[in-house]
């Protein structure tokens, strides 16, 4: 690995695009100026299963300003129907409530929306099945080939070990449907010029969108260009291509005009993914010394009938703590629901919730302080893969965090009372894998000593634009002002998206390698002098070969104080503190925002977020922000994140681990554990709501 001399890296530099964003000068996808655009509005199915029998669009077509009504009868045929999410209006089949069954193109968004309401759809309805519960019929083990991971693992003999354990627990945790809900709704502008398509699109990675759209329409990827200069959050819902993007391109082709589409908040609940509910059985056992003898994590989740997707919630348990006997499993139900997708630390977020609450229960069951218990069960190597950790800062975070938070060691709930408040504190570990994707980048030096860095990276509000410029400046050994960075356009060198907390690690590595290549080229080919036309270096960086040898993860410890109103059972979180170990921190300011942002989402998950499916209709009943609650400012009181110095030479050229999702893991557990400490009541179902019959 390249060593890296940090000068700008590490500093708390303000976002380079901050002024543009707060003054409204930054243009998001829907705001891109496009001449002669028409507007698209979607009609969604009101049944959960069956097919469309007839569509009467007479009223819509008669409306002045309507350009076209698109249904499965006149929609252009797609070249590929391989990706079921993208098969829009290709048949009359309805696989879930809220599926796209028609769309209107009109001169204004208002006319399009009004016309959409005038379309009458007749259905042939079939019975649907939308309910996930433990032990239901039809649960199956997904095929590893299809889902890209091993659903089950076994080491040793969990059952016997649990039987002979000195202490053990067997408990089940559940999390509800949750929706990603980025602030900026999904939006696309589609513009054809001959056989070439340009999309201004809100997404988490233009190259991936380009590839999917090109495949769907049977185009060479070069004929599709995806541009996404500013994106208002995604949380996973904008990483994969969704049907509305294909629909926009289809519509633009059909009407031979640019077409603009913005989803409404309500539509987003059915069309751009969500997190499956999870049912997680946790069985843990310890010996007389408080060491785990067995750990078992069995997960039940749902997917749709059209696509197989698994929330990999038990995967974290394979790595986290030492225990000679271990088992994990994932079972899946296929339901008549929209396909769940990745959302805010998919897998780890609900998985860590169950694991870290179970660790708290186990600690108290064997009379150990929750922090001491975790330290006692710290593994020497990754127990799942047997590999050494490239670095593992969990114990340091637990110790340092405990100190800063003022943790009081205990082996039973404290049940403190302060006036009308029941007060408790809780702790939980955080963790998220450190990975990297193959990436390309180019760097050019001009005669005036300025640099131009080009890479199809993206900033969805994380601060990546700023952090990458810092990395480039240090790699090029030049001041920040001399670096010009072009990102978020599929015409730039190929890169993966902002997902899996891999963005900065992948893009930064490619930029560092490109800077090194440029320096080398200048030295060997130009004797160190920049010629009039400048010099450019382009690199392709593959996977990290060291990932074969080391287990790579970021860690953290989160601490929560919870107060519960003794009368009304309102739950408030006056204090939330996270101590993290994530390698080198590239920008102290944006990193802190990422970490506390994750923790706020974790707080939201603990206390509020829940989409309720109405089994009779098969729809999400509370599909707007008045009913789907995300933490408000008033819910977030004293919150802070800090990090320990961690030097990890193996992960990437910067020694930086991803932090996008680390912050959300563990928060809900720390809060649930604190609620137990305050009340002596163990609530295992999210969101946490204290019953009154106690």
């Amino acid at each position: 690995m390249t060593t890296f001399a940090a000068k700008t890296v590490g500093a708390a530099i303000d976002r380079l695009d901050g002024p543009d964003k707060v003054t409204g000068a930054a243009r998001y996808a829907f705001e891109q100026p496009v001449a002669h655009a028409a507007y698209l509005y979607i009609v969604q199915s009101t049944i959960a299963r069956g097919h469309v029998r007839a569509i009467d669009a007479t009223g819509a077509r008669a409306l002045p300003g309507v350009v076209e009504v698109i249904t499965h009868e006149n929609a252009p045929r797609l070249a590929s129907t391989e990706d079921p999410e993208l098969v829009v209006l290709q048949s009359n089949a309805v696989a879930y409530h809220g599926q796209i069954v028609a769309a209107v193109v009109a001169e204004t968004p208002e006319v399009a929306r009004h016309a959409a309401a005038l379309i009458r759809v007749q259905y042939h309805e079939e019975p649907h099945d939308v309910e996930l519960h433990a032990g239901r019929e039809g649960l199956y083990q997904p095929d590893p080939e299809n889902v890209g991971f091993e659903p089950d693992t076994h080491h040793g003999d969990v059952e016997s070990a649990l039987k002979t354990a000195a202490a053990s627990i067997d408990v089940t945790y559940t999390t509800p449907h949750e929706h990603n809900n980025p602030m900026e709704p999904h939006a696309t502008i589609a513009l054809w010029e001959g056989d070439s398509l340009t999309l201004y699109d809100a997404n988490q990675g233009p190259h991936a969108i380009r590839g999917d759209v090109a495949t769907a329409f049977g185009l060479e990827p070069e004929r599709v260009r995806v541009i996404s200069p500013h994106v208002g959050g995604g949380f996973g819902s904008k990483l994969f291509t969704h049907g509305h993007v294909v629909l926009a391109a289809m519509a633009a082709k059909l009407v031979a005009r640019p077409v603009k589409l913005a989803l409404t908040r309500q539509q987003m609940f059915a069309l751009v993914g969500y997190r499956t509910p999870t049912i997680q059985r946790m069985r843990l056992g310890t010996d007389n010394d408080g060491r785990l003898v067995a750990i078992a994590h069995d997960v039940t989740v749902q997917t749709s009938k059209i696509e197989e997707s698994v929330e990999t919630a038990a995967v974290v348990t394979r790595m986290m703590y030492a225990a000679p006997n271990r088992r994990t499993s994932h079972r899946l139900a296929r339901l008549d629901v929209p396909t769940p997708t990745i959302m805010r630390a998919p897998g780890e977020c609900p998985g860590v919730y169950a694991l870290e609450c179970a660790m708290d229960e186990m600690a108290l069951a064997c009379e150990r302080d929750p922090i001491e218990f975790r330290i006692r069960n710290e593994p020497e190597r990754d127990p799942g893969s047997g590999k050494p950790f490239s670095s593992r800062g969990l114990v340091a975070c637990l110790r340092e965090g405990a100190q800063r938070f003022g943790w009081q060691p205990h082996t039973a709930p404290a049940k403190r009372r302060d006036g009308n408040w029941l007060v408790g504190t809780g702790v939980a570990s955080s963790t998220y894998p450190t990975r990297r994707r193959p990436t390309t980048a180019s760097v050019r030096v001009n005669t005036d000593g300025t640099y131009r860095v080009q890479i199809d990276a993206i900033d969805i509000g994380t601060g990546a634009r700023t952090a990458l410029a810092q990395i480039a400046a240090d790699a090029l050994e030049t001041p920040l002002e001399r670096v010009r960075l072009d990102i978020a356009d599929s015409a730039l060198p190929r890169a993966g998206g902002a997902g899996g907390s891999m963005g900065l690690a992948s893009w930064g590595t490619a930029i560092v390698e490109a800077a090194n290549a440029l320096r080398e080229k200048l030295r060997t080919e130009f004797a160190g002098n920049v010629p009039a036309e400048g010099v450019e270096a382009y690199v392709e960086v593959g996977r990290n070969p060291l990932a074969e040898r080391y287990s790579m993860h970021a860690f953290g410890a989160q601490f929560a104080e919870v107060r519960i109103d003794a009368d009304t059972h309102e739950i408030r979180v006056p204090r939330l503190f996270g101590m993290f170990a994530a390698g080198r921190i590239v920008n102290a300011k944006t990193a802190r925002s990422q970490l506390i942002g994750g923790m706020v989402m974790g707080l939201s998950m603990a206390l509020f977020e829940e989409t309720v499916i109405d089994k009779r209709f098969g729809h999400f009943a509370n599909h707007d922000f008045a009913e789907y609650h995300i933490a408000s400012n008033a819910d977030v009181l004293d919150i802070d994140a800090a990090w320990i110095d961690e030097d990890d030479p193996y992960v990437n050229s910067m020694g930086a681990k991803g932090i996008g999702e680390l912050g959300i893991t563990g928060t809900a557990s720390a809060i649930a554990n604190a609620l137990y400490d305050a009340t002596g009541l163990r609530l295992r179902d999210l969101p946490l709501r204290l019953p009154f019959d106690i």
Binding site: H114, T568, V612, N622, A626, S632, A634, P691, F692
Partner: protein
């Protein structure tokens, strides 16, 4: 949203005449509720008659010590009025607990009173709802109803009225001044609102052509010792699960007089007359408060997922009374 005409009335009388001319016309205040419902196609007015400037936007003193709020007054301004805050703290607190700063800046006093239920089935035109479409059915009863009625509901409808301000006004015996086809009249809030019965489509007793011009609050000396407690999962920007508006007059340890109203429990702001009756003349002590609260909730008919509101309402009443009795 359906196409509609927009007109601006000069005054309330003109608005009433304009309404009379178009059966499917509706009045527009700040639009924070009505425009949302138009987008959702729950409301489909043919014409909007803007009255946000046609009615008074200020607080006036009434002879005898009461206050009169203009129907067009913005929620933010009403909450900030010095006299109102001093005489009726419960009202200012209720206003400030509602919605968000941005919405309160737009929302008018009359619009707030007449905002419609947040029941998710009412708001979703692809689902049945007796309030929106009489005789189509009520999916909420068996469905998503965590925040719906426990008191005074009917088989046809279990909607709750969402306003916080109206709960305080109900406790204060406020009346609305109305200009309608038959001239001007004053209607007590308790008669403006109604329970759903078998006509859940009617939220109020207003007739087409009625325009609210003012809200009048009678003098209530002891209301300077009053407060609003709103219980909700999220600390801000959430409708009440349960709320309590209370005012308490204690002499020599005895309850001389009391006003209590509940929000989030019924089709209308719920005046807790049974509890009030149980309190008057009794010692101002926790056990009396508990008995009174229990008496009020005795008629509750909770559903599968909102039974928690019964103990919650009782505890919130007791807590509000305890806090009021501890005030200097």
């Amino acid at each position: 949203m359906n196409p509609f005409r927009y007109e601006r009335a000069r005054d309330a009388a003109e608005a009433s005449v304009l309404l009379g001319k178009t059966p499917a016309a509706m009045l527009l205040g700040g639009g924070t509720n009505l425009v949302d419902l138009m987008r959702l196609r729950v409301a489909k007015p043919e014409a909007l008659i803007d009255v946000s400037r046609a009615t008074s936007d200020r607080v006036e003193l009434l002879p005898g010590g009461g206050l009169r709020l203009g129907a067009g007054m913005r929620n933010t301004d009403a909450a900030a009025d010095k006299t109102l805050r001093a005489r009726y703290p419960v009202l200012s607190q209720a206003l400030l607990s509602g919605a968000s700063g941005q919405i309160r800046n737009l929302a008018t006093v009359a619009g707030n009173l007449l905002q419609r239920t947040r029941c998710v089935y009412f708001q979703d035109v692809s689902k049945p709802c007796n309030k929106r479409e009489p005789a189509s059915g009520c999916p909420a009863r068996e469905g998503y109803h965590r925040n719906l009625s426990i008191l005074g509901a009917s088989d046809a409808c279990i909607a709750t009225h969402p306003s916080d301000m109206a709960v305080a006004l109900m406790a204060l015996d406020a009346r609305v001044r109305i200009i309608g086809a038959g001239g001007e009249r004053l209607v007590p809030l308790a008669e403006l609102y109604r329970l759903p019965g078998d006509e859940p489509q009617r939220d109020t007793t207003l007739q087409h052509g009625d325009v609210i011009t003012h809200v009048e609050i009678p003098p209530l000396e002891f209301a300077k010792r009053s407060r609003y407690r709103k219980v909700r999962d999220r600390a801000s920007f959430a409708f009440a699960l349960v709320s309590v508006a209370g005012a308490l007059d204690i002499r020599d340890g005895m309850v001389r007089d009391v006003r209590l109203a509940l929000g989030g429990v019924a089709h209308m702001p719920w005046r807790a007359r049974i509890a009030e009756e149980a309190l008057r003349g009794r010692p101002a002590r926790e056990d009396t408060f508990r008995e009174a609260a229990a008496a009020e909730l005795r008629a509750a008919q909770p559903l599968r997922d909102n039974a928690f509101k019964v103990p919650l309402a009782q505890r919130s009443i007791v807590r509000t009374l305890l806090e009021l009795s501890a005030e200097p």
